[in-house]
Symmetry: D2
Subunit: 342 residues, 4 copies
Amino acid sequence: MTHKIAILGASGYTGAELVRLIATHPQMEIAALGANSKAGQRMAQVFPHLRHLHLPDLVTIDQIDFAEIDLCFCALPHKTSQEVISALPRYLKIVDLSADFRLRDPAAYETWYGNPHAAVELQKEAVYGLTEFYRDQIREARLVAGTGCNAATGQYLLRPLIAAGVIDLEDIILDLKCGVSGAGRSLKENLLHAELSEGYHAYAVGGPHRHLGEFDQEFSAIAGRDVHIQFTPHLVPANRGILATGYVKGEAQAIHAALAAQYDKEPFIELLPMGETPSTRHVRGSNYCHIGVVADRQPGKAIVIAALDNLTKGSSGQALQNANLMLNIQETEGLLMAPVFP
Amino acid sequence: MTHKIAILGASGYTGAELVRLIATHPQMEIAALGANSKAGQRMAQVFPHLRHLHLPDLVTIDQIDFAEIDLCFCALPHKTSQEVISALPRYLKIVDLSADFRLRDPAAYETWYGNPHAAVELQKEAVYGLTEFYRDQIREARLVAGTGCNAATGQYLLRPLIAAGVIDLEDIILDLKCGVSGAGRSLKENLLHAELSEGYHAYAVGGPHRHLGEFDQEFSAIAGRDVHIQFTPHLVPANRGILATGYVKGEAQAIHAALAAQYDKEPFIELLPMGETPSTRHVRGSNYCHIGVVADRQPGKAIVIAALDNLTKGSSGQALQNANLMLNIQETEGLLMAPVFP
Amino acid sequence: MTHKIAILGASGYTGAELVRLIATHPQMEIAALGANSKAGQRMAQVFPHLRHLHLPDLVTIDQIDFAEIDLCFCALPHKTSQEVISALPRYLKIVDLSADFRLRDPAAYETWYGNPHAAVELQKEAVYGLTEFYRDQIREARLVAGTGCNAATGQYLLRPLIAAGVIDLEDIILDLKCGVSGAGRSLKENLLHAELSEGYHAYAVGGPHRHLGEFDQEFSAIAGRDVHIQFTPHLVPANRGILATGYVKGEAQAIHAALAAQYDKEPFIELLPMGETPSTRHVRGSNYCHIGVVADRQPGKAIVIAALDNLTKGSSGQALQNANLMLNIQETEGLLMAPVFP
Amino acid sequence: MTHKIAILGASGYTGAELVRLIATHPQMEIAALGANSKAGQRMAQVFPHLRHLHLPDLVTIDQIDFAEIDLCFCALPHKTSQEVISALPRYLKIVDLSADFRLRDPAAYETWYGNPHAAVELQKEAVYGLTEFYRDQIREARLVAGTGCNAATGQYLLRPLIAAGVIDLEDIILDLKCGVSGAGRSLKENLLHAELSEGYHAYAVGGPHRHLGEFDQEFSAIAGRDVHIQFTPHLVPANRGILATGYVKGEAQAIHAALAAQYDKEPFIELLPMGETPSTRHVRGSNYCHIGVVADRQPGKAIVIAALDNLTKGSSGQALQNANLMLNIQETEGLLMAPVFP
């Protein structure tokens, strides 16, 4: 059986990545591509790398007949997403890739995003889309909120350690290095090639990054108490990839064991042998996440490192994995392609 | 039915690319990975991006039982390849990715490669592996010689124009820009990141590049007379991609028509609308080749441009496409993944 | 004696490059920095790499007292430049980096730029700023028009060959590869890092590139007849650098001799030994231009290649070299820094 | 007065960087270039970007007449350096860029480098080359040991904080991102462009990196007690640059004040306004170091970040700064060039 799929926000990078993945998915067919600002164009004009596919032309969201759609991916900007989804049929299965439904608490949402939530009821209904930890709820969900790409990476590293009680909750530091595509296809001076290439820098230093809202929500829920990690993202001159280096206090062996217990049967999470560490280049273009653990020279301290592709496992691959669950398709369908290296 | 596949030279980039492609091929199974210099290692050590796959360990070529193999890819260095293939069973289907069997004439081989050919009989048997032009022979072949990656790109551009008689054969210039992975995984100072990145240069200027041997052989055969093009490759700081800019004398409309007639039904060759030109970033990681034609401001001159991924359509993707034909599998099987952008 | 310098358009890349060069120039002092859109900001905010310098804040052009200025660099966009310069005092020495005064013929200007020239008298007065060929006029000039960066590269290659009569004027092809900074600091989707890096493509194919206007003007003047070359620029993922590959018909030895005769005493033009070719990485950040000549395998054809840094020798370095001449300073002052490699 | 300079190890990146800097130094002249493996070659062959300079050819170290040399830079590999320097005249002023004389304690040297020191007397004589903190001793020194490039960056960040007693000494984490040129011009698979570009990873995780020996030595000396920081370097796909992100416990204002007090009059260390952070692209090719401080959202925690160019301020620029002091030249001579951006 083939499911009919709509993608809203098809002119952005996560939209294009969804098309790339679904292009070879045997049980999905792209029936509509919404992109208000580029409506009327062919996808080959907006993303020439998809030229070989037979795709519907871009249309405005108004032009889509959702009665024919089995599942809709929303890859729209924050805030726009909640407005658009509010207006969609209530029976429609939706995977949202924006930040709008990640935080369950309306007050937390307002704190981190600076405006009241416009769809509080939907916010309650939404299931947090970190597949490996919300799999059963996602299977039953109508609306799934894709996680932040940095938030996913950090949680893959730290959730099992917090749950297993093997690290000190007061001193968790996450130093993260991310590629450029995470910032999207927006016209900002600091995203120009001449500005970005050949250099690197930290940003959102000290706590303002919104993905901290997700860390606070999730880690505190697991621990049953407030957990506030320290988080510094850095922008690195590569298009894809997130490398998260975690500094924790605990025994490396216990940490490795906790990760092994959690991820033993997971199809996309690869725990490296003790002492080995991952690289973003080895997950590029794929849905895999590699995790490594190393003991520090100082007893009682450890370094944990995770790598994934922000556009795939960090957003569109995760979204497809969740959609597979929601449509009762094999979870890994369309997602088993190997990374592209070199 | 699943065919058992061996890959010799599995520790190089084209070997790894074959594994990447075959990993999701429904009718092939990798039964043996040969790599004399790294025998005994796991593939995950040599190529960590393939860690998630269940692959046989690397072995020496001697250790492989070829009686169990249905088809063997040889991704070995030039000269080594002809020695190794000479020693393989004569019934074994082989796709060779080296330069050893590309030139049909032993004298031409010796001219371009500087040594006499050590397997002249095999050389006679080998079919030139440019799929779209040798499809019927490849289907029946036992030994197929993969083309040079630059040679493939240039031929996709120029063969239809020579065959159709729409360009002047005396003045064909091919200015080619290729990515770094084409040089392989060899330890050379000029391939270091610090040497290569942030700059670009021409190499093998004036005629010494060995892929000219293929151009001379093929273009002269088509034209029924000697054709000697001018060819300058340039090395560009990107890992994958070949962009070939051809300067020809002829009418752009007739040129576009000749390409359209040739490639109309081809699954992997995309001819762009008149006046549009391709980019390597839009074929990256895929088996597609994009071709464009533009008329010059001076009447009677035109520019033709082709882009493909040297590791995929330029070598390992081409090899798999040929193997599919040789094993009577759907030609496009395992090769329809979309390019990875950005 | 220290000369007081104003730079208009100081928030763009050529403006910043002028500041970088003048920062260690012993006989110049930056007295005013004009940038209408960023007036009121400190240079350290607009270009943090210049933070260590004691520079005037950015102001609107209106706020500058030109009575105190000895020489003014105009690094403004095309069209804006002619308007601004028209309003400046007629005694002021000016080096313009825009395209506005490069073409001497108002009709040619209108053809290439699509609008009538608004300062035809100034256009007559302006001297073309290719230092090595207009040195004496530049020394006496009040208004010097900096050349296009691609136009400079191509002329360094071809002018001596046309002047010496050693190549066929009917068949000159210039295949040029340029870095990203040549497009300036403008917000365009195709200049984003995620769009540009890891790929390369041709643009302005077939003749529309405006630097062809300069080639036509200059080459025809030298030859005493119409000369129209074929010119294809390509965008390459590196920030700085132009590599121009010229395909000409002539004897390589005669070509090398003509270049040697021309550039023998030039401080910034390095002719490589016969058969060697240059790389952009070896001129990066410097005012040097490297040129090489190779004979093709086919008698009577040759390849000539030039490399320079588009922001330095291709624009701001050229501008400073001209300013030195106009102010009767040693021509090489402030320009002898070695390239930055790796 | 012009001082005659020898550079041993002129075929490596720090050797070439010394030549680049000295090329425009008004009081130094390069009299000898030693490079045993490439003796007999011209510098233009080994480093074509230095082609325009009139330099002596490369010779073996034996061939150099040190009686004519005023100061010798040793840019040789570790271990080779101590052997070569032992054999040089005892009166010769030497700036060593290797690791051989950085650690004062022979036992510490053996622990970190795995072999006993072969020149213990010289080790005692050597002055640690972190200019801003050893300026007076360097002025009087005969033998100065250049610091590790990572070690320099971390010390610029942390020394003033430890000395001022404004941070907790038990919990100092340094997460460092460095460019590729720091690994030198050695032929290693993991330094190839195709391996390194488009990805990033941590290395030497958990404590084995030798620059920790310098941190331990220096920080413990300042604190008057053992201080052992946690240190994780990461390799990032850019040629130049070190970005060091420090996680410390202390009040951000006090930290900023301690840095301001230390660096107020330093010509090359730029402390950014509170809350701003640096980027490697803004120091590239220069001798400047930019430092920033941000308070974390959790009281009592702060992030401190430093950026410098590993080849300039991190090694060859530092070496020249020290040589200026040793020869009684203005300390900043030859080092005031602005960074190259973009």
